[in-house]
Symmetry: C2
Subunit: 640 residues, 2 copies
């Protein structure tokens, strides 16, 4: 039996670290994205996505504009709004969303079909180019939005509309003669159908999700066959020489043991695989999930949680191939990895999955958004020299500053919906068992068997390992399971002032209470100096600094230019309160700096060093103080 | 007054190091490329380039096939044949070439035009797409072939034909009204026109070369204007978003101070700039040449001589941006850099230019060809893990083994013509002054004022710094200038057994003789451990090994896999005679090897090392013993 997430409507995030971001969602990001979607932000690439719906609905005249999956911007925005309204009523916002939903529903076709690109621009091409057309991907996001909006507001209008679309998909795709035997070019519909099943309890959606997974990569590759259709219309020029591994359709999903292809596609699919494996108790499918998760985290992931080491095609490459300055590490891929890990955490109750969620959230995901909530990274390098990220070169995809908005705008609204649904990552509940995955301060009402307990968690995490948990309303036995982070030293658990002997299972310490209690979790978080497996060429001779879940980096503004000239020479680290970032611990370390010489490019003249104080800030906070160099993996002195 | 190269017909290469390659040219490469061009090599990509000429000549029916510059394969082959026949008669080969020339001349149009792509496929598009069409580039290569073939055989047929083409070009392009004010999208015609001028003494060709340089990058960019023509036909999809710097047309050539854009285009142009600067005593143009040469060699060149650090667009990027595993470093670009440096050496008589020719020839250029003469590298990385060079990724351009032939086959025939004309790099002559740029064993008749002296040079260079030079036929005073390599220690010069006091000018030691003499040049070549300027991020903490002109590398076959785990721990190097490569010194060094651990991808557990013997071979010889890892920049232990 899997653990369940807690309804967002019953939870308030009070965490000092995260509240600055979750407040941003409602105050800045959602309104800003609304303006973007309505093309009301000057100097920003046109979105046109609401306009597309109006045109498709016949309310306006005009042409489709944007990416083939432009609809998903509205979907992710609505999903974020749903989560936000669950946490806090906001009539003005709800009105905007209701109006948008009215337009969306009007754009939907008689038979349930909805995709403005195909409705406006290519009506004859419906479902004919699954490889590139993204119809099922867009449908998936709109279904997720419908579920979130229903859960956040109780309103069924979009949900009912998406049920009609899902029903059309179930009729259209399947093994029967006359049905389309294809599957999505970009996965997302699978996990959305599972969500729809869970909210409607109609099993056909779950079965449809399973069908899409079962058929994928089986037999002749659908995408290579599909393009042989008469009058087939191509969309992306770079898909000319299509490799099925790009969309994880190179072999049946159960047989996949290594993470291949486009990283976002991959992890969205793995998330659905975990869902379906759990629902059907499909051991083989679960084994594939475990193998894929292990392959990523042990061989194909950056220390920041970034995945997808190739800039070209935003894809996984091969084991230990993790260049720091030319990677993709898309923010959306880390969001997908967090979603996959959340499912694995709730299914297995093994803390390593929760720890990875934490690693993603505190590092690669958070790096995707500026502290003002208005600019965003798609690509998250671990090392950058701005002048080397030139257009028309191999590093053109790496940006030296966050962008206001993007033509292909997947990441910004994805960050919004992630921050708005942060609460889902904190707890997992099953009967009287409450698992605390993450130490994010909150106040939550959790159903426990037939009662409801109120949990109040206060902490200064990730800066301090000192968490207070107040549990109220306890009538029967409740078992609280607290994750013991791998980086924690000297982990202690107190209940009503009394230190508990730890009963640990798969990384969670359990304490049983039968009455209202006050707990305290304490652990030390020493600064860690981490080496990568030496098979990661890019990191040999280098060290990364981490404290708790926070990966640190050096920035030019603190350390001067040519960061690669800095060597760490010792392991003493002083913690300093940041003067720039609120509630942030920076680190000061001892180092030496290689002195650039004047002269030949290559020379046998000796090298000289000077002592240097090295200042590190959390990776997630880089590029908030202007453009400059940044570096995660720092050289270290290694003597004979 | 510039130094002149020596006619290849008066020179025999006898050098043990190079003879294995120059013999290959006649015995293997030229016949093999003939078969390729005639599509007689099974399993190799179709060339069709002779077929194109036959179709254009009306001798066969059929379609054009190949790249827009497919004609240049035949041109470079003919150029190589010309050089080869200069050194040694070969009737069978000459017959093949004569027959090919007959077809080429028949393909030429009434007015002198020649380009099979446009003749067969796009007759209406002649000179309309200079940016992508490569007509002037192809013309340049065919003119170079005509000059070489005339000089090698005395036959004028191709030369006369190319004079007609050059005349057409001079009529077509120029500043007058009614003339086309464009210039080539890929430079090459400029240096070819200078060669044609030097063989015909018709100054209009020199003036045309100067015109193409003067007009380039002046005023509105021609290529951006050209594409506005009605019915303009695009050729390369990647040129959609064209940046004039790609073709060095972003500013007037005299104002260019940094090497930008496509590396081959750049250095071919710089070669012509040097020619024209010298012919016109154009100081400003010469200053641009010096600045560009210095920018490349001091900031944008690999230690192997490779240039063009971006895989995308095969281009220069920015100062000190020299990644080792994703670079382009095209073989052709190094050939162009050698041609540029040869001109600079003969104009300035400064040894640094000759030293760079040597660096290119012994490293990046030679690496382009396998020891059997039948397979070739375009891209020359300094570090490779074969499994990481996957298709559909950012490193797809890096190949782990030399290729049989290429669809775009510029490098193989370029290597052939370079090896066949190796003699031009050795000496520079002006009156009674003979400069020895390179210590390549040879026997040569050199005109000195009104006489001819015979020079016989014997050496085991680059393995030993011990060169014997016999000069015969000396009637009047002759001044011999011998280059003092920067890597030479304890340079000594003996004349008839007597050590000479060195008179050194710009890196050349001069000795004056008045009668037949025997000279001996001796110097030590210690193994050098070189560091890159610390601004080259990729090389910090690493060292490269060089002895004389030879850059060394590690290969997996000698050192096992995971070469990045090897640290050099000392500077003792033992020279060992290679058991695999004939006449080759390998090096054995002391090192330590980081032991891969089993466990987490990122861990604070300490690292462990074991002692290791490190074996290095010349970089140019890598990938002759099967596929495997290779590494030039080796980690080194750096203590506190």
């Amino acid at each position: 039996m899997r653990l369940n997430t807690v309804q967002l409507s019953r939870m308030d995030i009070t965490d000092p670290f995260w509240k600055q971001y979750t407040d941003l969602v409602e105050d800045v990001i959602i309104p800003y994205q609304w303006d973007i979607m309505n093309d009301n932000v000057p100097g920003v690439e046109s979105s046109h996505c609401l306009e597309n719906f109006k045109i498709a609905a016949g309310l306006k005249k005009g042409q489709f504009y944007g990416a083939v999956f432009q609809d998903t911007d509205v979907a992710k925005w609505l999903e974020a709004v749903g989560y936000s309204l669950a946490e806090k009523k906001n009539e003005k916002l709800e009105k905007l969303a209701d109006d948008a939903i009215d337009v969306i529903v009007q754009a939907q076709q008689e038979d349930g079909y909805l995709d403005t690109y195909f409705i406006i621009k290519e009506p004859s091409q419906r479902w004919r180019n699954l490889c590139e057309g993204h119809e099922l991907y867009s449908a998936g996001h709109m279904i997720e939005a419908a579920v979130a909006y229903y859960e956040g507001t109780g309103k069924r209008k979009l949900l009912d509309s998406m049920i009609r679309l899902a029903d059309l998909i179930c009729r259209t795709f399947g093994p029967e003669e006359g049905q389309n035997h294809g599957y999505p070019g970009h996965q997302e519909i699978e996990l959305a159908l599972v969500r729809l099943y869970r909210v409607t309890q109609d099993k056909k959606y779950l079965e449809q999700a399973k069908y899409f997974l079962d058929i994928r990569g089986a037999g002749k590759n659908y995408f290579l066959e599909e393009r042989k259709q008469e009058n087939f219309k191509r969309i992306f020029p770079e898909f000319e020489d299509y490799d099925p591994a790009y969309s994880q359709s190179h072999e049946p999903v159960r047989e996949q043991k290594t993470a291949e292809g486009h990283a976002v596609r991959a992890v969205y699919m793995y998330s659905a695989m975990a869902d379906v494996a759990e629902e059907y108790q499909d051991k083989e499918l679960m084994e594939a999930c475990v193998a894929l998760w292990e392959n990523i985290t042990q061989k194909r992931m950056y220390i920041t949680g970034g995945i997808g080491s190739s800039g070209f095609l935003e894809r996984f490459t091969t084991d230990y191939d993790l260049p720091n300055d030319s990677n993709y590490s898309e923010t959306c891929a880390s969001i997908g990895m967090a979603l996959f890990s959340l499912r694995m955490a709730n299914i297995t109750r093994n803390s390593r999955y929760a720890e990875l969620m934490e690693q993603e959230l505190y590092n690669n995901i958070l790096a995707g958004i500026a502290q003002d909530g208005k600019s965003f990274f798609y690509v998250n390098p671990l090392e950058i020299k701005p002048r080397q990220c030139m257009s028309h070169t191999s590093r053109a995809h790496v940006k030296a500053r966050r962008q206001k908005w993007f033509g292909v705008a997947c990441c910004p609204p994805n960050i919004a919906r992630t921050l708005a649904s942060l609460g889902q990552y904190i707890y997992g509940v099953d009967g009287a068992d409450i698992y605390t995955h993450l130490y994010i301060g909150n106040q939550t009402y959790i159903p426990v068997n037939n009662d409801v307990v109120k949990i109040t968690m206060d902490s200064m995490f990730p800066w301090e390992g000192n968490i207070k948990v107040k549990v109220q309303g306890v009538k029967e036995k409740v078992r609280l399971h607290f994750r013991i982070p791998s980086y924690a030293e000297n982990f202690r658990l107190y209940c009503d002032g009394k230190e508990q002997e730890l009963t640990v299972s798969k990384g969670y310490a359990c304490v049983e209470i039968c009455r209202d209690s006050e707990l305290s979790i304490q652990f030390d978080m020493p600064v860690e100096f981490l080496h990568a497996d030496p098979r990661v060429s890019a990191d040999v001779g280098k060290v990364a600094i981490k404290r708790g879940p926070i990966v640190y980096c050096l920035e030019e503004v603190d350390n001067g230019a040519e960061l690669q000239c800095i060597y760490l020479s010792g392991k003493a680290a002083q913690k300093k309160k940041s003067t720039y970032f609120s509630e942030c611990l920076e680190l000061e370390l001892q180092g030496r700096r290689l002195i650039p010489r004047n002269g030949e490019l290559y020379s046998s003249a000796g090298l000289t060093y000077e002592d240097a104080v090295v200042r590190a800030i959390p990776y997630a906070y880089w590029n908030n103080r202007g453009e400059g160099e940044m570096l995660v993996w720092i050289h270290e002195m290694i003597g004979n």
